[in-house]
Amino acid sequence: MHRLGSFSASRWGIIVTGATIGILAALLQSWGNPPNMGICVACFERDIAGALGLHRAAAVQYLRPEIMGFVLGAMAAALAHHEFKPRAGSAPIVRFVLGMFAMIGALAFLGCPWRALLRLAGGDLNAIVGLAGLALGVAIGVQFLKAGYSLGRNAPTPSATGWVMPLMMVGLLLLAVFQPTLAEGGAIFGSTSGPGSMHAPLLASLAVGLAIGFLAQRTRFCTMGSIRDVILMGDSHLISGVGALLVAATITNLALGQINIGFAAQPVAHSVHLWNFSGMALAGLAFALAGGCPGRQLFLSGEGDGDAAVFVLGMIGGAGIAHNFGLAGNSDAMVDGALRVGGVSPAGMWAIALGLLVCLGIGFVMRERTTAIRRVPAAPIKTGE
């Protein structure tokens, strides 16, 4: 009888990981990251896209070291435990499209699932609406999975393939440290106001990213997977980590005085429920079809998964599209003492509708062609083909 003996595979392992993320994210906010945005994978990839000039939204440009830390920390964990396994070839272009629409949906809400939890931990009740949308999107994805949805098999690749994403992150880190200007008036761009201008010291962000990347690779922490596993098979393993994140972030926010309960005028958030819900439903469906939340896709990239890396690039490309075409959500704001409710532009609404159509289409048409379950004569099974 095989026992899942290691700490990282245990329930305590996933709980410790979730709690660590919750505490460190809340601390990052007090160290300088934007409010209720200690960590937001979607927002931070969007900030990186802005710093590189892939979009020119002035308020959201910064090379976020947390993202580089996630990939490199996961890589270190995978290498240390002989789990670094370069692989690719499972419908990469479809994954790019899923990443793109996942980002468009997440930016309509203004956050990935991690930030939805952190927003809730900070008292932003709009997060409940977003999380409900996320759950619906994942539930739709589960129905496709039950009906045989598959992006097909990956295959082992030469090890160089697995190093591409970690090396790209090293490159981004070098750009963040040395801030070279190679063209006058060109990248690297950096926000002077808005969320992109708010950040913890580089070393603190990087250290937190590395630690979380290491832990999350070991424990397979995944917000989308936590909802999926509950719906699919009543398995509460992953969601106990997500619950721990929420509880730990709430307690840390209480201790740091970072809680403000309500719907209106929350930081970097809008209170238009329909589009908070719809945006996250799109993101949840795309994450479910791609097999992981944006954080998980980074950790998988770190352990050599080239397909997850393509999803990440899709998200970064999607951030460019979202801001260049004005699809991202606009925050609520107080103007002359009056609340100006933000929300999503008409173009953003159409983009979410298009994204839902495309993702539903992908769910219907992608099927595994080969028979995975088969009967063979009861002889020793040949493996390692």
Partner: protein, 70 residues
Amino acid sequence: MDAVVVDARGLSCPQPVILTRQAIKQASFPIEVLVDTVTSRDNVTRAAQKMGCSVQVQQVEGGFTLTLSQ
């Protein structure tokens, strides 16, 4: 008697688990599940044990063979 083989190599989470659950519900034991990552090994083991199976794991070249019995 024929053995049932679930070839889940190269499939990403949660497909190995879904296929294994299908096989457990439909097929006769023992069931051999072929996976190629530690994540799939652990996920399939956890799901099979939850469904009352005992699981033997053998490391093979390029992955693991899990033998599920009741």
